[in-house]
Every structure is written in C-alpha cells, then in structure tokens.
C-alpha cells in the first residue's frame, strides 16, 4: 500500500510535496521548527522535489488547502493536531496520494496512505523537567503550556515525571496553561505567578509566548528551559537550557523516503528511541558535570526503554 515509487498527479520526474502549516512560520516554536526542516529538505532535494506550503490557515480552510495539495502533490504533510479530522478525511478521498500528519494524537493509527509522526514532545518535556530539577536552587520548578491540548497536558505530566526522576525531593507546581501559544503578555504573567510561587526554573511549551517567560525570568532572577528550537546559548541569560524537539526532522524523514521510493504509511515515534535520536537537551553556562551526567543517564534509560514517556 503506497510503498511504490511516485504515482502522483504529475507523473513527471520531479516529485511534489505540499506542507500545511496552520500557524505562523515565524512562531519561534513548533511551526518554525518544522519550517526549518522544510527548508533543509528543500535544499537537499532541490531539483528532484518541488515544495509548496501554506501557513496561517483558518480552521474552516484546512480542508481547502489539503485538497489543493492532494490534487497536485505526491506527498501532503500537515502539521499540528488541529488538522487531524481534515487530514483523515482528505486522505481517504485521495487514496493515491501519500499523507503525513505531524503532531497529531500520539496514539493515532496510521491509515492506508497516511503516516502519523509523533515528535515526542512529551519526551522532550521529560528531559526539560529533569534539567529544571537539576538546575533549580530552590527545589521548586514549574511548567507552562500554551493550551490545554492533549499533547501539552501529556507533556506537563512528563515534565513532572522527569523532574521527579532527576530529583525525588523536587517540588513541581501545578502546570499552567496560558490559553494561547503566542500571547507574550499572558505568558509573562503566567511565569511571574510561577516564580512568585517559589519556582526558579520553568519548563514550557509555548511558541512566541516563551519570550514572556524569558522576560519574567530576567526580572525575577529565574530561568527557563527553552525549546523546541535550540538557540545559541548566551543570547539571553534567562535560558538555562534548551530542549530541542526537531519537528522538521519528520518532514525530512518523509521526503527522504518518498525520494528513495520506500515511503510507507506508518506510525513513527521520533525522539530518543528512534534510530537516529531526535530529541536532545543543551545546557547553557556551566552547571557542573553532575548535571550533565544525570541527564545523560536519563537519556540512556529512555533509549533503553527503561523509562517510557508514552
């Protein structure tokens, strides 16, 4: 089922890939991370694959964009769980086109021509929690999520587990949900509440909103764990670490397989358990060797399956 070479609409020698980004490409978060992968893939397969994309699409227009891609592309990739219903619907209507959904329900089942890719944000959150606990001086940490969506709620749970795994005595605050991944002012308020409650390191899954957390950290001598894009350490002292979730790697993965002709409909869980590990944590400054060692140990345990984050 769909494991053969390109049988898309054009039938020519260039393959067509369309990517739907419901949010903004410059959100400094999930979408932007994916877009970085999109750009890498476009560069790598220049000439062989033609890419097109849409961003900032209204809910009612998801289907329109997906169908348009489906009529011209060999592979259609859709980002974010919010498009789940539409992707499944459209995929069923275009059985000859390959579809990939990134970041949908992690337990989602693949379809005949639909892959579901899970970037394992929860695993990243586990690492983020561990790092937070290890870096905390007050022994209190907290997590801020953009919205009370399943993926984020799970990440919050993993954050707690990670923190407790790294330091059983750590106090983890009740997770906060801002209600918007990009609302900087509210994110800042949320972070201030966290710092006010005694935390000194916060984990987050926010997009643009993490700027607000960084501001709050600067004001309250706290710190945060950045991500999903690992920026260069030192550009902002509030970032104690970055937890990297390479959402774009999944776009590359899908396109690589498309070009190689061995794309298949599957559920893939990226992250540390994957063949090429995709989640990582980058520590900023010098927290001392113990921290790094403890984190490496946890990573090893995850890779080995001793710790599961799903």
């Amino acid at each position: 089922s769909g494991s053969s070479a390109a049988d898309g609409a054009d039938g020519g020698d260039t393959l067509e890939v369309g990517v739907l980004f419901p949010g903004s490409l410059s959100d400094d978060g999930f979408m932007e991370s994916a877009y970085l992968g999109y750009q890498r893939a476009a560069e790598k397969h220049a000439g062989a694959v033609r890419f097109s994309k849409v961003e900032q699409v209204a809910t009612a227009d998801y289907e329109k964009a997906l169908v348009r891609f489906a009529t011209t592309s060999d592979l259609v990739i859709s980002l974010g769980g919010q498009t789940d219903a539409d992707v499944r619907n459209v995929a069923a209507r275009f059985p000859k086109v390959k579809f990939a959904e990134i970041g949908g329900p992690a337990d989602g089942k693949p379809g005949a021509n639909l892959s579901v890719y899970d970037p394992q944000q929860a695993e990243a959150a586990f690492l983020s929690g561990a790092a937070s606990a290890l870096l905390s001086k007050t022994g209190t940490v907290g997590f801020i999520g953009g919205a009370e969506l399943p993926a984020i709620v799970n990440a919050a749970k993993e954050y707690r587990k990670g923190a407790e795994a790294a330091d059983p005595d750590v106090k983890v605050l009740t997770p906060q949900y801002v209600g918007d991944f990009n609302d900087v002012a509210k994110a800042k308020q949320s972070a201030l509440a966290g710092f006010g409650a005694g935390a000194d390191v916060l984990g987050q899954i926010l997009n643009l909103g993490h700027k607000g957390v960084a501001q709050a950290a600067g004001q309250r001598d706290g710190a945060l764990v950045g991500g999903p894009i690992a920026r260069e350490c030192g550009s902002d002292p509030a970032f104690a670490a970055y937890v990297e979730t390479d959402v774009g790697a999944e776009i590359e993965y899908a396109v690589d397989h498309l070009v190689a002709g061995d794309w298949k409909a599957e559920a893939v869980h990226f992250g540390l358990t994957f063949a090429e590990p995709h989640n990582d944590i980058v520590l900023c400054g010098d927290p001392g060797p113990a921290v790094g060692e403890k984190l490496d140990e946890l990573k090893r345990k995850i890779t080995a399956g001793e710790i599961t984050t799903r």
Binding site: A147, L173, V184, A185, L192, G196, G212, R231
Partner: protein, 307 residues
Amino acid sequence: MSAVLDELAAGGVRLAIPLLLASSGELLSERAGVLNLSVEGMMLTGAFAGAAGALASGSAGVGVLTALAAGLLFAALQALLSVVLRADQIVTGITANALALGATTYGSRLVFGDASADSVPGFDPIPVPGLHRIPVLGPALFEQTALGYAAFAVAAALALGFSRRTGWGLAVDAIGEDATTADRCGLPVRAVRFAAVLLTGAVSGLAGAQLALSEVHAFSDNITGGIGHLAVVAVIAGRWLAWPTILACLFFGVAQSLQFAAPALGLHVSAPLLTTLPYVVALLAVSGLVGRSRAPSGLTVPFLRGS
C-alpha cells in the same frame, strides 16, 4: 498566600495597563461618536513600530516615539476613512485590524527576520522607594516601568481633563450625542472626531509599545492577541464613563491574572470561561442589569451637514 495575592494584584494591573491606555482613548472617541473597532490594529501597529524603532536606534525611548507616530498614522487613516469619507465605521474597523495584522506580520519578517528571537531594547521596572513594599498595592502600583507610570498619568489626565465639567469634555459629549446641534453651536465636529481618533491612535500606539517594550522587549506576530478588542469592551462595560471604564480595565486585568494565580490558590477555573468573563460582564453592564447605561446617540453615525 500573600505572595500569591501580591502577584494577583500586580499581574492584574500589569495586564490592565495596555487596556487602560487604549480604552481611555477609545472612551473619548466613542463619546465623540466614533466606534474604533480598530484599536486592536492600532496597538499592534504601535507594538511593531515601537520594537522596530527601538531595535534600529538602540533606544527604548525612540521606540516609544516611533510607536506613537505609527499609532497616529494608523489613526489618521482610520479617521480619514470614517470621519472624512464617512465610510462605515464597523467595516473600516474590522478591516483595518486585518490590514494591521497582515502588514505587521509582513513587516516583522522584513525587519526582524531571523533576529525574531533576540530582544530589543526595552524598559525595566522602576520601583518607587518605600511605596513598593506596601503589601498587595505596592507591587501592583509602584513597580512599573516608566511607560507604565506614564499610562497611569495618561488615563487619569484624560479622565479628569475630559470630564463633562470641562469645556472639552462637554464639547466631546455634545458631538457624540447630537452632531448637528454641536455643529450649530459652532463646535468643529469633524475636527474633534478626527482628533479623538488620533488620540485613540496615539494612546493605543503607546499601549502597543508597553506590550512590546515594557513587557517583553520584543515583537511577535499578533502580539496584542485581542487586547484591543478588550479595550473597546472595557468602555462598554464602563458604560461610557471614565472612572467605571478604568475600573473595568482593572477588573479585566485581575480576571485574567486570576487564571495564573488560580493553580497556586488551588482553584480549577476553565480558561475559556475566564477569557469570556469580561464580555459577559460588559453585556450585563450594558443591558442595564447593573445600573442604567446608554451609548452616545451618535455612536457610529457619520456627520453630514445639511441633512
């Protein structure tokens, strides 16, 4: 517990400041008969221009000036359309917001590009010695940035300076209530409306600057995220009166802040419900369930002499 209360109050005020600025302008504009649904766009433009100005010049002060200028420019466009050309205020308001969103998103990729992660020069809080230690009120009122204090001053100045007791305030009310009569009394109806919209633009620009330069030292797409609409709603909830509007802003701020203090207080409140609360409050206020309320009769009615 007291730390939580401190944070609740301080957070409430902090979230209220942009509202306070924008709605004190919007109040005046509505009293003069112009409904600016474009406050959101004005703020967004101000935030963008403020961040861009601060980045380019390296000075937050310059950022404030560019925010002010951009707010004014945007307001001039809105006033040209709705006051001079008498285009429908609702259409121009809604559309101007879309324009601002598109233009600032486009502009931010040009101006900030990949530097979007970096921060721009901004303002830091200046605690007022002594006063900021007062429990609850201290952190809320006396730990603001320069722009935050300016916001208090602007809101108070507008509330006092344009109260109905002053000649200016009276003129504004007359123009919003009955433009033809005001015109026959020799009041410059269009000029006042134009000026009111410009003022709304200026203060909304400042509100945007407050978001970008005092709160986060950065610009991000759609950084206002509906705060401008909330400013319009605060005027409604304040029943077109200055002090109640200010109270409404503070209330809205605290209601939002509650969302973040709630976990620490051990409360579970549904975020969508809290987000909707201000609108419900405004609806109750305006429906006369809480005191009498009446919009200016001339609200959204364009002025045309000789009709």
